[in-house]
Amino acid sequence: MPTSRRRQDEATTVARARQGDAAALDELYRRYRDQVYTLCLNLCGNREEAQDLLQETFVRAWRGLPRFAGRCMFSTWVYRIAVNLSRDAARRRRRAPDFVPSARVAHDSPVDDVRAALAGLQHPHRAVLVLRYFQSFSHKEIAECLHWSLSRVKVTLHRAKRAFKDSYLQMNSTKEAQP
């Protein structure tokens, strides 16, 4: 579906949901549930926490729907809620005395290795990488989603790629060193 038509279709559904149409909300939930869940999982690296974040994201989106002005796409707005919630969760987690970033991620598959490497990064680096490579956002869309300037997105993405490369290689070398 073309972007313009998708945007129009989404705007119609959001308008219905704002008027209290439960079917429209159900449609929005079904449309974005998996994307938001995977976004949360990539950002926090933990399935249980991703489920909590998914719930909280949709509850907040549902409650804040009257304040959604429609200047960006509903999906961008929901992703922003999810990114902000995962950032707050990461801050709370860092304060825990026994916090080890990559230890919380299961290493069952190569994708889990990627998530574990992501978990070792700073949250802004994680967010731009996930939005760029998982959501396939352009620089402009990332800037819109995170409320950042375009230059900040580019600089952060550049640093994030290097940081991820170091983290990923270190993780692989550690795995190879283990018996």
């Binding site: 549930r33 995977t38 489920q51 998914l54 719930q55 409650r63 804040g64 200047r71 990627v114 991820f164």
Partner: protein
């Protein structure tokens, strides 16, 4: 190109964001430098790993539970309460200002407190060592020396203000035809938080010297409707040709 400059632009090279000449220079360097080639391979590998992130479905029971939970929430409605509070705040400010400017003219001007001449007590002369009065029988001065106040207080004779006609606060300029009282100024310049956050206003104030000022407040909101910035502007809009109040 040396290794350092290649490392600096290697990510842009991989993203194909370099100009043709620069790209050719990087490619030529990579053919000759094993260390830079290894770095390029590592970056490609990491980027390739990032593209393996795929959509994951949440557990079915969680999806059903969340669906049930969201359905149980009350339907979203625009919250009129905020605007109701805003309206209440505007009315309270308008009434308070009107009361203040009504009370102010009735207050008779207070006489200027003239500091009375203060008698400064002269300390008792010290008894000399040859005095016949014993030390324990000497009297100490009982009056405490009063000091003249160092700062003279002046009370300005402001002409009694004329009756106020103030329109309700609105987008259209309203006129306040008198000198605002201190409380009135506080209300105008520092309105309560609810009013400051949720309303834009535009009030024209006539000062006693004939000048006119425009008090303006503008709210900047983001797309979620939340106020993100408040701009308060006080502009002198002239009116100096207007004669000052001659209220005596």
């Amino acid at each position: 190109m040396n290794c350092r400059s290649v490392m600096r632009v290697l990510i842009e090279y991989l993203d194909d964001e370099l100009q043709a000449s620069e790209r050719a220079a990087v490619a030529a360097h990579l053919q000759t430098c094993a260390a830079c080639r290894a770095e390029e391979a590592a970056l490609r590998r990491a980027e390739g790993a990032l593209t393996t992130l795929a959509v994951v479905e949440p557990a079915p029971d969680l999806a059903a539970d969340l669906h049930h939970r969201i359905s149980a929430l009350s339907p979203p409605r625009a919250r009129p309460l905020r605007w109701a509070w805003c309206g209440v705040a505007v009315v309270v400010v308008a009434v308070a200002t009107a009361l203040v400017v009504r009370i102010y003219p009735r207050t008779a001007p207070q006489p200027i407190p003239v500091p009375r001449p203060v008698e400064i007590a002269t300390p008792a002369p010290r008894a000399s060592a040859t005095s016949a009065v014993p030390h324990h029988q000497r009297t100490r001065p009982t009056a405490v020396a009063l000091r003249r106040p160092r700062r003279q207080h002046f009370v300005a004779h402001a002409p009694p203000p004329k009756p106020v006609h103030r329109d309700e606060v609105s987008a259209e300029p309203a006129t306040l035809e008198t000198a605002p009282t201190p409380l009135g100024l506080i209300l105008l310049l520092g309105p309560p938080r609810e009013l400051a956050l949720f309303s834009s206003y535009n009030v024209e104030v006539s000062m006693p010297d004939g000048t006119q000022s425009l008090l303006r407040q503008e709210i900047t909101r983001d797309e979620t409707g939340e106020p993100v910035a408040i701009t308060m502007i006080c502009e002198n809009i002239g009116g100096a040709d207007r004669p000052p109040n001659q209220g005596g």
